[in-house]
């Protein structure tokens, strides 16, 4: 019972908003608040942070009173797509400057392609090659993208 409550959507959302609200209150406090007439850089963010924290609390309280809907949030999260899609884009960002657009595109396609169960590696290689060729033709030569094509 308790586990399903902590694991429910509303509870996690409430917790997320509450902590982000408190975080922004804390960060705003580092800046001068000023007064209502001459607002300092901390005034508006603090205001937003306070309201956000209150909303987070409302969600939490509502959840505690009404109870969770018995859903299992953790089980509904799919790690594989999140992990591989994220990794693919990170690979692109890390490779593009030094290794060039060609290799970065290949890395992006291969890694993100593995996000699906039963991905077919030869097919991904082919797709990666095609995308890399297309990307270089359109973005590098066509639109003048300021990234090297080949490793520098």
């Amino acid at each position: 019972m308790r586990i399903s409550l902590v694991n429910s959507r509303d509870f996690v959302s409430g917790l997320l908003f509450l902590s982000l609200g408190l975080l922004s209150c804390y960060l705003s406090a580092a800046h001068s608040l000023g007064n209502a007439m001459r607002m300092g850089p901390g005034y508006f963010p603090l205001l937003l942070g306070v309201v956000l924290s209150i909303l987070g609390l409302v969600l939490l309280v509502r959840c505690l009173r009404l109870g969770g809907e018995g859903e299992n949030l953790l089980a509904s999260l799919h790690w594989r797509p999140a992990l591989f899609v994220g990794a693919g884009v990170v690979a692109f960002a890390l490779l593009a400057q030094e290794q060039g657009l060609l290799l970065a595109t290949l890395g992006l396609t291969l890694l993100s392609g593995l996000a699906r169960r039963g991905a077919h590696v030869p097919e991904l290689l082919g797709l990666g090659a095609a995308l890399a060729a297309f990307g270089v033709a359109v973005f590098s030569f066509g639109l003048g993208l300021p990234l090297p094509v080949l490793p520098v």
Partner: protein
């Protein structure tokens, strides 16, 4: 008569060969990215922004706006044929459009969507043209208090009319406002919320947030679903709707156009909100509401007209007040600034050929879209039969390049991954991300106007209620909130967005 001379100036500009070409290019590209799920107009405009440096400003804006409303057209095609909204504004079209397609009536749904969109686009263009001059005069009376209240109204309307839990929607808006404040504060020069990271000093680009949440996050969520079972409806049938379809659709088209025209003007309005609102109303007014979700042509005709009208009139706050109503409009401001044009009421008098040229080009573009969409439907169908497993790496590549091109920064691409994962979490938590993006776009503007208004009133917060325009705007916002208290409305809101 002034209107006629304005329009003739616009026609002259929009119909020049080169501008016609850029318009065609824009709407074709727009339809293309609208059809493909995952890359919307934001990524495309971001990628093409650097290309427009070399163009004359009028041609640049004509092409970029073509991409925006072209995407509304393309989005509905994907929604009807594969049940994947190519564009967020076509989300509701999926419900009845795809149901119709499964019944073998894809052609009729596509036809009604295109014809309704064209009608709405035409009507909205006329409204933009007619309302621009008086609205600009009106906007000159706006002080910081009015601007602030207008943005409050926009945010509240977006929250009330959007789907899902109201508390979560407000919280998402606030989170967006906070994210918008990251970077150097213009008044004090202090860095806020940057954690000492130099790349954050200039704030996060909205392309990063929107590509992250709507591009990458959406792809992760899509991959969860099993796509092998999804089928593209290849048998489109005749794209000419039957007499019965017309009879049932003309009222929803009219209502949708009117609704979209009005909601599009609100900051935070625009295409998506209009489509949702129209669907709610049509379902409410229908003789047999149970038919909705099972292939009611009204559920396609209304929202499709509304989203096009809304897309069109969302240019009003941009062109007249310099206020972006969504991420695309914020990019448009960027495009105008590159050419040294400061958006605001003065654009109309200082650059009439640009202002009226862009407006007339919208109508021309809508005509081109009708010509493009009905005969070319076969091409889009073939494009849609590319399996998702081949499509999504390509979409990711476009996202990467789009994000990179804004600031030529790979740090931005990494940041987009973070927002992508956050976006996925939001989808799982059923927190609608659209209000976050709107809050983000409006955040700095709201703070700036709040500060100025309070400074002018010497710290007296009643200024928002004592100035008549500001007070009426806040009153309308209050009425929107009061709608929520009506059990009747709440029930409709829930039913309209109930997941099937």
């Amino acid at each position: 008569m002034e209107l006629l001379s304005h329009l003739s100036l616009g026609v002259e500009t929009a119909l020049s060969w080169s501008n016609l070409l850029y318009c065609l290019l824009g709407v074709t590209l727009g339809t293309l990215v609208g059809v493909l799920p995952g890359i919307g107009p934001v990524a495309t405009i971001a990628m093409l922004l650097p290309v427009t440096y070399g163009l004359p400003p009028t041609s640049a804006l004509i092409m970029l706006s073509g991409i925006y409303y072209g995407a509304q057209y393309g989005g509905s095609t994907a929604a009807i044929l594969v049940n994947l909204p190519g564009e967020s504004s076509s989300l509701v079209t999926c419900l009845d459009g795809h149901a119709l397609a499964k019944k073998g009536r894809a052609g009729a749904a596509l036809g009604i969507a295109a014809i309704g969109s064209f009608f709405a686009g035409t009507a909205a263009t006329v409204v933009v043209a007619a309302a621009a001059v008086p609205l600009a005069a009106f906007a000159l009376k706006f002080g910081p208090a009015e601007y602030f209240s207008l943005m409050v109204l926009g945010l509240i309307a977006a929250v009330v009319l959007a789907q899902g839990d109201i508390f979560k929607a407000i919280a998402m808006t606030l989170l967006g406002l906070l994210l918008g404040l990251i970077g150097i504060d213009v008044n004090s020069g202090e860095e806020r919320f940057t954690f000492g990271i130099p790349e954050l000093a200039e704030g996060i680009s909205f392309v990063v947030i929107s590509m992250g949440i709507f591009g990458i996050g959406e792809i992760i969520a899509n991959l969860e679903r099993d796509h092998s079972r999804e089928q593209v409806i290849r048998n489109v049938g005749s794209v000419l709707p039957s007499r019965e379809d017309y009879r049932r659709s003309w009222k929803p088209v009219l209502r949708g156009s009117a609704l979209g025209t009005v909601l599009g003007v609100l900051p935070g309005g625009g295409a998506m909100l209009s489509a949702f609102a129209s669907y709610m109303i049509e379902k409410r007014l229908a003789k047999d509401p149970s038919e909705f979700g099972k292939g009611a042509i009204e559920g396609v005709a209304g929202p499709e007209s509304a989203n096009n009208a809304g897309a069109q009139t969302s240019f009003i706050p941009l062109l007249v007040m310099g206020l972006p109503s969504n991420a695309v409009m914020a990019l448009m401001i960027g495009a105008m600034m590159i050419h040294g044009i400061v958006p605001g009421p003065q654009v109309m008098t200082e650059r009439p050929e640009l202002f009226w040229g862009v407006i007339v080009s919208m109508w021309v573009g809508n005509g081109l879209l009708l010509l493009l969409n009905l005969p070319l439907i076969g091409v889009w169908v073939r494009l849609l039969s590319v399996p998702y497993r081949m499509l999504y790496p390509a979409i990711l590549l476009f996202c990467c390049i789009g994000v990179f091109s804004v600031n030529n920064s790979l740090f931005d691409v990494l940041l987009a991954v973070g927002f992508g994962l956050l976006g996925y979490l939001f989808i799982k938590l059923q927190c609608e991300p659209a209000p976050l993006l709107l809050g983000f776009v409006l955040g700095p503007l709201m703070e700036e106007n709040l500060r100025r208004a309070m400074l002018l009133s010497r710290g007296d917060a009643t200024v928002f209620f004592t100035r008549p325009i500001s007070a009426s705007l806040l009153l309308i916002a209050l009425l929107f909130l009061a709608l929520l208290a009506l059990p009747h409305f709440r029930a409709t809101r829930k039913v309209a967005f109930a997941e099937d």
